[in-house]
């Protein structure tokens, strides 16, 4: 289960991910992201309530990161320890902007 709360603030899209981002929910997020990225210049993802992140989820984040890198970029906020460990262990921590 993954719930996404969207909030468009000017050209900045803020999104709070609630639940699990795994192979089941990753395609849902991919679709939501591809819709939003049409008119957003900057993407802020709030991970405060994200419980789990799998490699399928990482793929979607990577895709979004690549697309947003031509514009004002993508920022991930409020990453908990478990997910930070995932980012570190696959080297994403070096690339992604994590606040």
């Amino acid at each position: 289960m993954l719930n996404v709360e969207k909030n468009m603030n000017g050209a900045t899209m803020e999104m709070a991910l609630i639940g699990r981002l795994d192979s089941v929910t990753a395609p849902e997020l991919k679709e939501i992201l591809s819709e939003c990225m049409l008119d957003a210049d900057k993407l802020i993802l709030d991970f405060a309530q994200l419980e789990y992140l799998s490699s399928a989820g990482l793929r979607v984040l990577l895709e979004a990161y690549k697309k947003m890198s031509d514009r004002d970029g993508m920022v991930i906020r409020n990453v908990n320890d478990v997910i930070m460990q995932v980012f570190k262990s696959v080297g994403f921590a070096k690339i992604l902007t994590i606040e």
Binding site: S23, S55, A56, L58, R59, L62, E63, K66, K88, S89, V90, G91, F92, A93, K94, I95
Partner: protein, 489 residues
């Protein structure tokens, strides 16, 4: 070519599917005929025992019995040809309609839904044409049976117009119309027939018409459904056999035999969660003194992961054969994998080059799980270093290289997250700590036994739960070289 020969043919054509269904339907019809025959016998017997009463039966005894005999004989003939003739469905249906029509003649207004039975049963053949044929025959035959019933069957007093002032006097006759017959009250038979057709047949006919439309649409959609089911089962079978071959190709791509070398023991194992998986391991001697070994995990599972896995494995091996260092191998493979990566797939990989004579291990990690190292004294730890991004993400990455000295007796276990993230029925993960503990407790001697030990522990932990991710292990035990033995001696 006869139908039975057609049936033994290998491929199932569209006609063949419906022919198989028709034979099944014929058998069902035969059973229904037999049930009807038995019911008729029971009813006939009960009327003879005066449990039921039917005026018509006394006059139509012969007709009733004849219909029964013909129905029995036809069912027998159908059985004789194993229900595998085109005419069987018409014969059996004709017999059923005949039986029902005779019942209609005898019992007239007492039985009303008989006309729709043949239509409903004909749906079982999933042929709109057959259902239409049977329905039309049914309408016609029951028209005739209604006419005959008006002359010979039970008298429907509701449709009987008697002259005004007619007095009916009941004596010891059990039924009202017996009284009418016994009193020989004159009535106009043609007016009676007209009324029966008007109030009985026409009403039944209109009800049967709705059932008829329903049955035609039922058989039409049944027909479509069977065709779709056939397509689906064929495509499922095709996919299954393709996946089987794909799984064989994938398994054959993994190294079969570890290199024979007295300096080390090496063994790998890969168990995909689906038919094909995205995990792999590989190893070979780059030259006489250098062993290349790698373990990797493509994001996702199934066919997409397997295709990317085959590409990643061969690119990595090509890079390794150029005698590059682990970091250079990953750099080269990453650039190659980024070239045509429309789907943004990526693969985590841990690659090592072991100098067999000295035990010097160079390695680099593209976001892969840290291997477990077991020192000769039995202490276990992770071979933890900073992680770089997986292969396939960004083409301009430079991977870092690390070095570790292996001493004789040291063991190393590389794995994919299918091992550490293996879930049991309570949704608990196997976890890296448990892997350390299992490694710590291991007392097995050879690499093969050690790997079995880890696999057994994971299997015991997971228990009945389904395997969710590919499970891959690569086990290395460094024995040391003759040079080292000499030096220490």
């Amino acid at each position: 070519m006869s139908m039975s020969e057609k049936k033994s043919g290998a491929g199932k054509t569209k006609d063949h599917i419906f022919w198989e269904n028709e034979v099944q339907a014929n058998k069902l019809m035969a059973v229904l005929n037999l049930i009807t025959i038995v019911l008729f016998c029971i009813v006939w017997f009960m009327i003879k025992q005066q449990f039921f009463y039917a005026y018509g039966l006394e006059r139509l005894d012969g007709l009733f019995l004849l219909a029964l005999l013909v129905a029995i004989a036809s069912t027998g003939v159908s059985y004789k040809v194993h229900f595998e003739k085109r005419w069987v469905k018409y014969l059996l249906m004709a017999m059923l309609i005949n039986l029902l029509a005779v019942a209609d003649v005898v019992f007239t207004y007492n039985v009303s839904i008989l006309m729709i039975l043949p239509m409903v049963i004909s749906c079982r053949y999933f042929s709109t044409r057959y259902t239409m044929e049977i329905s039309l025959v049914s309408f016609a035959v029951f028209f005739l049976s209604t006419v005959m019933g008006a002359f010979f069957g039970d008298l429907d007093l509701n449709s009987l117009e008697l002259p005004l002032g007619t007095v009916i006097e009941i004596k010891d006759e059990p039924w009202l119309y017996d009284t009418v017959y016994a009193m020989q009250i004159p009535f106009d038979r043609m007016v009676y027939l007209k009324d029966v057709l008007h109030f009985s047949y026409l009403v039944d006919f209109m009800q049967a018409l709705t059932v008829f439309l329903g049955c035609v649409s039922l058989s039409y959609f049944g027909n479509k459904l069977i065709l779709r089911q056939k397509e689906m089962s064929e495509s499922a079978a095709r996919t299954h056999s393709e996946l089987e071959v794909a799984a064989n190709i994938q398994m054959a791509a993994l190294p079969a035999e570890p290199p024979r070398n007295c300096c080390f023991e090496l063994i790998g194992s890969m168990k995909p969660a689906k038919e094909v998986g995205g995990d792999f391991y590989d190893y070979f001697m780059v030259d006489a003194k250098h062993l290349y070994f790698v373990i990797a995990d493509v994001s996702g599972k199934g066919v997409p992961a397997a295709m990317f896995m085959m590409e990643a494995k061969s690119i990595l091996a090509d890079q390794a054969r150029m005698k590059k260092s682990p970091a250079e191998i990953l750099n080269g493979a990453n650039k190659a994998l980024c070239l045509h990566n429309q789907e943004n797939m990526f693969v985590t990989a841990w690659a090592g080059i072991l100098e067999t004579s000295t035990g010097k291990l160079c390695f680099a990690s593209a976001g892969h799980e840290d291997p477990v190292i077991k020192a000769a004294d039995g202490s276990v730890s992770f071979l933890r270093e900073d992680h770089d991004m997986p292969l396939g993400c960004f083409d301009l990455l430079n991977y870092s290289e690390y070095e570790r000295q292996l001493s004789p007796g040291m063991e190393m276990c590389c794995y994919t997250d299918g091992v550490t993230e293996a879930m049991n029925a309570e949704d608990k993960m196997f976890g890296a700590e448990r892997l350390l503990a299992v490694m710590n407790a291991a007392r097995e001697a050879t690499a093969e036994e050690l790997m079995e030990h880890v696999k057994k522990n994971v299997a015991a932990f997971v228990g009945e739960a389904d395997q969710f991710d590919d499970l891959t292990l690569l086990y290395l035990k460094y024995n040391g070289s003759a040079d080292q033995a000499l030096a220490s001696a």
